[in-house]
């Protein structure tokens, strides 16, 4: 069993389920948008980390510096796209 279900995989899975339930709390209780968004952003970021590090083994080979650089750069471009769009299309008018 331990061979087929290694502990760190099972932990990662349980952890990601727990994080989904925590994220679910934003619709179960009344809370302000700021608090809700904070919970959602933190949970999503940790979930992404679980997948990247525990399941995708991003750091396991000699190319890891290049991989981290690549993913960090992609995330940077992605975040600039999302927040740049919000800035020019929504927040800039308020």
């Amino acid at each position: 069993m331990k061979k087929l279900f290694p502990v760190h995989h099972v932990m990662g899975y349980v952890f990601s389920l727990v994080l989904s339930v925590v994220a679910l709390s934003v619709i179960l209780w009344d809370m302000s948008l700021a608090v809700g968004m904070t919970i959602l952003i933190i949970c999503a970021a940790i979930q992404m980390g679980v997948q990247l590090f525990m399941f995708m083994h991003i750091g396991e080979t000699g190319t890891k510096t290049s991989l981290y650089t690549n993913i960090a750069y992609a995330l940077f471009v992605g975040l600039v796209t999302v927040f740049g769009t919000l800035f020019t299309m929504i927040w800039g008018y308020q």
Binding site: K3, L4, F5, P6, H9, G12, Y13, S16, L17, S20, A23, L24, V26, I27, M31, L33, G36, M37, L40, I41, C43, A44, Q47, M48, Q51, L52, M54, F55, M56, I58, T61, T63, S66, L67, N70, I71, Y73, A74, L75, V77, G78, L79, T81, V82, G84, T85, L86, M89, I90
Partner: protein, 198 residues
Amino acid sequence: MKLDNSLPLEYRSEENSNRIFGFWLFLGAEIVLFSTLFAVYFTLWNRTGNGPTGKELFEIGPVLIETFVLLTSSFTIGLMINSMRQGLQKAAMVFLFVTLVLGLIFLGVEIFEFVTYVNEGATISTSAFMSSLFVLLGTHGAHVTLGLLWGAGIMLQIKREGFTLDTANKSFIFSLYWHFLDVVWIFIFSFVYLKGMM
């Protein structure tokens, strides 16, 4: 061919390592692709016109099933790679099969949801909100569909050839793709559905 036997099979030849590295570069581009679609959705989510709002449209039941099924499939594809690295071909095949079945369930629930939306009169041309929603969810769903076909192809190849440099490499790259789709879904679950129902 120079082989480094200290590495797992899927990394062992230089070509194999390069393929995995190249796939990570592709995933970087995919991150940017989905970011643009999220940007569009976040810009248009309250432009509902005469159509329904997210709060009226979304139902938590199917979304929870989709989330649970996709998280579980991401777990099982991870177990498949774990079995593969120990040379347990049969177990790896079972885990890959379970992953694909879960992917199929996910897709079924998503299609059911789309049909429900359309039956409620909310089609892709109802409002800017619906257009951006369908494009974002549809792009993710199309990736899952492609993944199912790809995974099924790999399963046939493993059955025929066993785990070789080639099939182990393909399986590992497929696992990266599948985990990535799970990450995208987490963001859809959080920032489309949960935020929409807040």
